[in-house]
């Protein structure tokens, strides 16, 4: 479904990788690995369509993602290094705003449920500024509970999470794959994801 | 196909570089030729003005500079748009090369205008529509240059610059028609002069000077484009070969 071919990434004057190709089908997980600075984040941003590749192309269901535009973005859920939450808003407000933006509006009960799943039950009405590092990450991850997108691009989702939360999120990814979703994941932590097919892709050393 | 091929051929920096090198001396020669002719007409042939004295001769620099400042902006925006739309490397470089020359002419127009304004209107500067919009033009050039200079990645710099250049295009008709749309201190358009007695000589002088400026602008822009090409393509084989050859 997601096919990349001959991808090249150039940052500054440095070529991070070239001639990279992979294919990812329904229910499969692509596990991106590589040292710090090897270009994992850059690759994920290419897969989103945020960063145009220096060469090569990316196809979703046979069509290049540039051509698909909004139709591709409608099936996409990207979680980056940054949490994309507003410190002034509460977890509840953050979650509902991001859901509306993704065109999957969420009523308050469902949103509260999602937050509860991530262990934020008592904090739903506290401005995110007061949350601990891990709690902020959990707010960002709460989107995964309800958004039904087919392609998940997750850039180190487990950062700052405690072990219980890591397992929880791994479970969410597993369930997503089971439903026939696709996922691309980077992480430096050893994590056990209950997935059928896991494709490994190791990016060259920087 | 063949037409398209030609275009791509000449728009490749590699073919353009030597071609530009050959053209530059010709444009310099033309610039000198027209410049000398224009000066002769302007300073020797054209009579002294009854009201303005010798001071009016500044018109031979002022008007061509004003024209060029507007014209170059249009050309620059054109190249920038082309680069943005089709990803031609060379046309973005063209836009970048034209900007400083355009800024120079805009500055010259303002400066000569101000020099002239002191005796004519009794002030170096007034905030009228023509003067203000010409100042805006200078700001736009400076903004374009500053924006490109402050973005490290040349590809991003090109695209951002192109957007700015295109947005700024609206200013050019405003400058041109400002004297018509608002009643200003500044002189109206050419027609007024055409009615006066010495119109023909002056018009010829101005046109010659304008042509000189035009040729100068092309020559300088080509030189600058060559430099930009070398800098941007310094990692490619042909540039390395070229540089080795020059040594």
């Amino acid at each position: 479904m997601l096919v990349a071919s001959h991808l090249e990434c150039v940052r500054g004057e440095r070529s991070l990788f070239r001639n990279l190709a992979f294919r990812l089908d329904e229910g499969e997980l692509l596990y991106l690995q590589g040292r710090n600075g090897s270009g994992k984040t850059s690759l994920l941003r290419m897969l989103c369509g945020l960063l145009p590749p220096a060469a090569g192309e990316i196809r979703w269901k046979g069509e290049t993602i540039g051509r698909l535009g909004e139709d591709y973005r409608r099936e996409l859920c990207f979680l980056g290094h940054l949490n994309a939450i507003k410190e002034e808003l509460t977890p509840l407000e953050n979650l509902r705003a991001s859901a509306k933006l993704a065109d999957t509006p969420l009523d308050e009960d469902l949103a509260l449920e999602a937050l509860e799943t991530l262990g934020l039950a008592g904090r739903a009405d506290l401005a995110c500024r007061y949350l601990s590092q891990g709690q902020k990450r959990r707010v960002a991850l709460a989107r995964l509970v309800h958004e039904r997108k087919s392609l998940w691009l997750l850039d180190e989702p487990f950062v700052a999470l405690d072990t219980a939360a890591v397992e929880l999120v791994a479970g969410l990814i597993g369930a997503h794959l089971q439903r026939g979703g696709l996922a691309v994941l980077t992480t430096h932590q050893p994590v056990n994801i209950p997935a059928g097919t896991v494709r490994q892709l190791v990016l060259g050393s920087c | 196909m063949s037409k398209g091929f030609n275009w791509y051929h000449f728009s490749s920096p590699q073919t353009f570089y030597p071609l530009a090198g050959k053209m530059i001396p010709w444009f310099w020669a033309l610039a000198a030729l027209f410049g000398i002719a224009g000066l002769i007409v302007g300073f020797l042939i054209a009579p002294t003005d009854a009201q303005q004295g010798e001071g009016y001769r500044i018109i031979f620099l002022h008007v061509p500079a004003s024209w060029m400042s507007m014209f170059i902006y249009l050309v620059m925006a054109f190249w920038a748009a082309l680069g943005l739309a089709f990803n031609f490397r060379l046309s973005a470089m063209m836009a970048q090369a034209l900007a400083p020359t355009g800024a120079l002419f805009a500055f010259l127009s303002l400066w000569t205008g101000a020099l002239w304004g002191k005796p004519m209107w009794g002030a170096w500067w007034v905030w009228d529509a023509r003067l203000t919009s010409e100042l805006i033009l200078l700001f736009l050039y400076v903004g374009f240059i500053a924006l490109q200079a402050s973005i490290d990645d040349p590809r991003r710099a090109d695209k951002a610059g192109a957007i700015l250049a295109l947005v700024g295009v609206v200013n050019v008709p405003i400058i041109y028609f400002s004297v018509k749309w608002w009643n200003t201190l500044h002189q109206g358009s050419t027609v007024n002069i055409a009615k006066s007695s010495m119109a023909k000589v002056m018009l010829v002088g101005m046109l010659l000077c304008a042509l000189a400026c035009w040729m100068y602008a092309i020559a300088v822009a080509l030189m600058r484009v060559r430099k930009i090409v070398l800098e941007r393509e310094r990692h490619t084989e042909w540039v390395k070969a070229e540089l080795a050859q020059e040594k």
Partner: protein, 222 residues
């Protein structure tokens, strides 16, 4: 589709309320500039009355310009901008939403405040009306045009200055017609012509500007 845009506006407004700074600092800046000038210039009422339209419009323009760097910068820093760019709505529409929200928390309060400050300068009631009207018509253009500059300078070295450098030339016509409208009313010429030009600028600014802005944002996110 429009739904998502409205919710974006609502979110930005809620953020503005939560922070308050966004609204109040623009307003407060406006008040300061307007009230400081009499202090620096001296209190002759005749002179002040003559200067009022200019001072008020310049202050409104500066206040708007100051709030611009943050228009996209906060979203950029915390990763929200990526999410906006990845949402299934056209980015231009989203930008339009943000411009609308920006105007609601800067231009609109300025407009509402201006007649009160104008009173300070002893302006006649027609002049006050013209002032309010010109601000109401003109300030959306400031937000719209400003968005282009904010997007172009996002994350760029020397962003703040560059922004002013890029935006200012484009603001000058708004300033001239805006202050012109008030002056024309004061001198009895009638503000009609100025106001319709201002309206044209605003229409162009609000409906044309989001597209270059969206393009510039995509470039900034690369």
């Amino acid at each position: 589709m429009l739904n998502a845009v409205f919710s974006l506006i609502a979110r930005d407004l809620r953020l503005g309320m939560r922070r308050q700074a966004d609204i109040a600092s623009v307003l407060f800046f406006f008040i300061i500039v307007v009230s400081l000038f009499p202090l620096g210039i001296g209190p002759e009422p005749d002179q002040l009355r003559r200067l009022a339209p200019g001072i008020l419009w310049v202050a409104a323009l500066l206040a708007t310009m100051l709030s611009l760097p943050r228009l996209f910068a906060d979203d950029h820093r915390d990763g929200t901008l990526e999410q906006l760019a990845l949402s299934p709505q056209p980015l231009g529409l989203i930008v339009l939403g943000k411009v609308a929200a920006h105007w609601l928390v800067s231009g609109l309060p300025l407009t509402l405040l201006a007649p009160v400050l104008g009173l300070q300068f002893d302006l006649s009631s027609e002049a006050l009306q013209a002032l309010t009207l010109s601000l109401l018509i003109g300030t959306p253009a400031l937000s719209g045009i400003g968005a282009i500059g904010a997007a172009l300078t996002l994350g760029v070295r020397g962003g703040g200055v560059l922004l002013s450098l890029l935006i200012l030339p484009l603001y000058i016509p708004v300033l001239i017609f805006g202050a012109g409208a008030v002056e024309a009313t004061v001198t009895g010429v009638g503000a009609q012509a100025h106001l319709s030009l201002l309206g044209a600028l605003t229409l162009a600014g609000v409906f044309f500007a989001p597209w270059p802005t969206a393009a510039a944002l995509r470039i900034a996110l690369e």
